[in-house]
């Protein structure tokens, strides 16, 4: 797979480390009534979709930035690559 890094251009996927579902950016609040159950869901449960998947990749052998990549898990086709900081900023603004 070739990942089109927003700052560095196309880079081979082997330069990156995969963390997992981008929902890991939505860390639950620790001081809520249901926080125990929320953390269980956050840490252990995954949608694990066959199809479009937003996921966190780390450019370990590059600029060490965190990226959010929209990728089809059935075809490995990559549709969108964003810096995780930008993605997080926009999270509240749109519906995705």
């Amino acid at each position: 797979m070739i990942i089109d890094h927003p700052l560095l251009g196309p880079r081979d996927a082997s330069e990156f480390i995969y963390l997992g579902d981008a929902s890991l950016l939505n860390r639950p609040k620790w001081d809520e009534e249901k926080s125990e159950n929320n953390f269980y869901k956050y840490l252990y449960l995954r949608e694990n979709v066959a199809g479009m998947h937003k996921e966190l990749w780390f450019h370990q052998q590059g600029d060490r930035s965190w990226l959010v990549i929209s990728r089809n898990t059935v075809t490995h086709e990559i549709f969108k690559v964003e810096l995780a900081t930008e993605f997080k900023k926009n999270m509240g603004k749109s519906n995705d």
Binding site: Y18, N48, T73
Partner: protein, 416 residues
Amino acid sequence: MYYNVFKILKEGLNDNKGWKKTWKNPEIKKKYDVIIIGGGGHGLATAFYLAKEFKIKNIAVLEKNWIGGGNVGRNTTIIRSNYLLNENEAFYEFSLKLWETLENQINYNAMVSQRGVLNVFHSDAQRDSFVRRGNSMIINGADAELFDVDKIKSIYPFLDYDNARFPIKGGLFQKRGGSVRHDAVAWGYAHAADELGVDIIQNCEVTGFKIKSGTCIGVETNKGDILANKIGCAVAGSSSVLMSKANMNLPLESHVLQAFVSESLKPFIPGVITFGAGHFYISQSDKGGLVFGGDIDGYNSYAQRGGMDMLEDVCEGGLALMPTIGKARLLRMWGGIMDMSMDGSPIIDKTHIKGLYLNAGWCYGGFKATPASGWCFAHLLAKGDSHSLSENFQLDRFKNGYMIDEKGQGAQPNLH
């Protein structure tokens, strides 16, 4: 149809005209006692043990493609029971014992070959950890031997013992481990289950569950609705997709694992060898091809194919261990979809929906587990409570903190 040597002789003289189909293609009934979703190794084994050991009649196995087309036909065929944690080791040792008598049980030649599994180690610290693992195996009734370098040299003279970075210091050997003809496992269980009256229904994809007030009463398929008292799901890498139809999120990620076969060579690797410094394992099939594999590619995938960078990584590991294979040409490669769990251990449990049961999370260790997985899942389906060997493989163990984390990696599936 019962296979034996006299039958072979008779059919040989009769131009092989009397063979019947190994399993039938039956009409689907409206209702079954138990439906197993997934006609792979685990699903077919479950159906067989349900019929044979737990005397359940009226069972169906639903397979969306053809049986044995998933991971049971996509692995490196290794069987072993060399785990560290008691919860795993006791279970896998039970599985290895079932492998030893499998062919008589299912009346099918699965070419079970206990040719020995050797894990080499490369440092003093690794030696200590392998000794500990070996002791854990022995405590749980398995066999384990510690080999020194001279002993390994007498079996495998061609390994790179003086490798500057990863010299071989010895190995942990399990003599009863080995390999099995993987396709024959699926076909053999299908044959034996079919003989006991199990309906094996291919090209039947489950598209939904029929759930009424918290109880699963049947499935919706592309061939119509089928009712059942109990439904067991054993679909490996597709578990999350299937269970999402019952609105469940599982503690699983699906990852692709590749395997490779070289051209046929004269026999020179008598057993299974694993590299201790990287992720590489190899054996030689009875046809002569070198069968080898390594780590998962590391990202979520349902593609059943992986990337070239992992091929390079696996071959680097292979060449560091045995440079002699460098001249062999690669013949085939393929990928299977692994249901990687959050602690690297499997799930055999009921769900919060009554009548719906789950068998999943085998990571890339599912093949060797096939008989015990089938046995324990059948026990759960027949009796409603867990077999003592699988009682720790609970779905909610992540919530309760009873993880079985063999490698101590935490909730990061691509590291297990």
